[in-house]
């Protein structure tokens, strides 16, 4: 038996969460590792797969799949599962990963466990998974013949295999049922005014919350993010008040980030927000309240008003 991992492509490489998922899948020792990639597999993805110990890369390059359609992707997962004789399928716990595996589960009458952080037993499958966005954990059994799980983002660090895999690219021919294209992306509207979609993979994130005081309170936040070559992330209250767009939101109902540095300014650090930023390597909090959860959970803190601290930091940076 073997394991199939859905690998998502980002700028010609296996995405960070996909590499984490491959690392995790390998650590289970549940059989040879197969990857499924939708679209022509870029060379960078083949080498990522090789490095992570993948034996076979199933390439689903049907032009009809140029635009995303979850049901069709699910058909591909089923086909790759058959080709690999897999009894364990793992997808990254991303929007797509969760959606596609939910389709597979519904089509096959299987259970699925979303956002798993650890496997306690493989047979029968018992996992720990995120509950309330990771504020709690659920120990749950997944009694299915074929086991479907998605891997919570940033629960493990990606690391190469001791011995590289063969990463043999194998074309996966699937006749896509038109029914599976009833809900397919018709077009993608690129974001205007810079790319903030890189938030979840940014190395530096400058965050701001209610303490920004209003939409005009973000000038220094934007300036500092630019100075540090990072992205801007905001708390839920900021998007609820319409100060900033939702795609900048960090938290349970926004992006999950794992930067080297998260500089959280004027953010109290609710459970919801923490669920999205807990995987940051280093956290610096700037807050007027020394008892705010963001401050007590941070590595470093400056006690004070972000509107006084940030301009001084920018000046200090020159």
């Amino acid at each position: 038996m073997s394991v199939v991992v859905l690998v998502e492509v980002e700028e010609g490489r296996a995405s960070l969460v996909s590499r984490e998922t491959l690392t995790f899948a390998r650590s289970l020792g549940a059989g040879p590792l197969h990857a499924l990639v939708v679209g022509t597999v870029p060379e960078g993805v083949v080498s990522d797969c090789r490095e992570h110990g993948v034996e076979v890369v199933h390439e689903a390059a049907d032009p009809v799949l140029e635009q995303y359609a979850a049901a069709a992707w699910a058909a591909l997962v089923e086909a790759a599962g058959r080709a690999a004789r897999a009894d364990l399928v793992i997808a990254p716990g991303t929007g797509r990963g969760n959606e596609v595996l939910a389709h597979v589960a519904a089509r096959r009458g299987l259970r699925m466990a979303a956002n798993v952080v650890a496997v306690e037993s493989l047979n029968p499958l018992v996992v720990q998974r995120q509950f309330v966005g990771g504020a709690a954990l659920e120990r749950t059994s997944v009694p299915s013949r074929v086991r479907l799980i998605t891997m919570a983002g940033h629960a493990v660090d990606p690391s190469p295999a001791d011995a590289p895999g063969e990463a043999r690219v194998s074309p996966l021919a699937v006749d896509i049922d038109p029914k599976d294209l009833r809900a397919q992306v018709a077009r993608v509207e690129k974001r205007e005014g810079g790319d903030t979609s890189g938030l979840s993979s940014a190395k530096v994130v400058v965050g701001a919350g209610r303490g920004a005081g209003g939409p005009e309170g973000f000038a220094t936040v934007d300036a500092l993010a630019e100075r540090l070559g990072g992205a801007v992330g905001v708390s839920r209250v900021v998007t609820s008040l319409g100060w900033r767009p939702h795609h900048e939101q960090v938290g349970q109902t926004g992006s999950r980030i794992a930067p080297d540095l998260y500089l959280a300014c004027g953010i109290s650090g609710s459970i919801q927000h923490w669920a999205g930023c807990a995987s940051s390597q280093t956290i610096i909090a700037v807050n007027t309240d020394p008892d705010a959860p963001m401050v007590t959970k941070a590595d470093y803190a400056v006690i004070g008003d972000m509107h006084e601290v940030l301009p001084a930091v920018l000046e200090e940076l020159g």
Partner: protein, 257 residues
């Protein structure tokens, strides 16, 4: 005319501290209170927006105990027409059960003469986070489904759906009837007016039993990881702390020079 069904879940207030019941099997919401799961709050607002011009109806459905009527009425207070409570103990149910209970209610309403062209659910519940009820429901109803949607427009039997994808806003055009799972961010949440509250109090909430047999969630236990003791190093206060903060940035090599 579009009839919209919005499925909402009563969850322990997700902004509150997570406290477990003594048996460790549930989140105890007695202290934090309960709320409508955030993505579903957005779904209610989208549905209310769709029928604002007076064409069509919005029905709010919840699978749960009598307590969930509070969330159903909250939906009616911000613009929905009526409500359905599918009576079941949510702690006994897994995502496949919830989907089955909703499908049964949709069929029952259809048999009674009301068909829903659009069924909206939250993308994932704030507590269980299973990410699959909407998709399972779509297969039970044999309808197309799009997930992670933030805005919905309906024209001539086609729903135009927008959501954030990895490379920008993804636009779907899906023929009705369909199922849509909603993520917050595309619509401003609605707050009830006094008139809305009054209407919600009087509105009819139909009780329906669920005839299915629960397969359950597979839950064995919940736990709340102990937060590590604070190890924060306070660099100083106010603007005077800027040099110390910049020194840390240099140490972390996020700035050079």
């Amino acid at each position: 005319m579009t009839n919209v069904l919005v499925c909402v879940k009563r969850v322990p207030d997700p902004t509150g501290e997570v406290v477990l019941t003594a048996d460790g099997m549930r989140v105890d919401g007695r202290y934090a209170g309960y709320a409508t799961s955030p993505h579903e709050e957005a779904a209610v607002a989208l549905a209310a927006q769709l029928v604002e011009d007076g064409e069509g109806t919005v029905t709010v459905l919840s699978v749960g105990t009598e307590d969930s009527v509070e969330q159903i009425r909250a939906g009616i207070a911000v613009g929905a027409t009526d409500g359905i409570l599918v009576e079941a103990d949510p702690d006994e149910l897994g995502p496949a059960d919830v989907a089955d209970a909703i499908a049964e209610a949709v069929r029952a309403r259809e048999a009674a003469g009301t068909s829903y062209q659009l069924v909206l659910l939250g993308n994932d519940a704030a507590d269980t986070g299973d990410f699959q009820v909407g998709v399972r429901l779509a297969y039970l109803l044999d309808r197309p489904v799009a997930a992670g949607i933030q805005t919905v427009a309906v024209d001539d039997g086609v729903a135009t759906l927008r959501g954030e994808g990895p490379e920008g806003t993804e636009v779907y055009e899906v023929a009705l009837p369909c199922v849509v799972t909603v993520m917050e961010g595309g619509v401003t949440p609605r707050y009830p007016s006094v008139k809305g509250r009054m209407r919600a109090k009087k509105a009819e909430v139909e009780r329906m039993p669920w005839s299915g047999a629960a397969v359950g969630s597979g839950r064995e236990a919940l736990s709340v990881p102990e937060p590590p003791p604070s190890q924060v190093s306070v660099l100083g206060e106010g603007a005077a702390a800027a040099p110390a903060l910049v020194a840390v940035l240099r140490e972390l090599k996020v700035v050079t020079g």
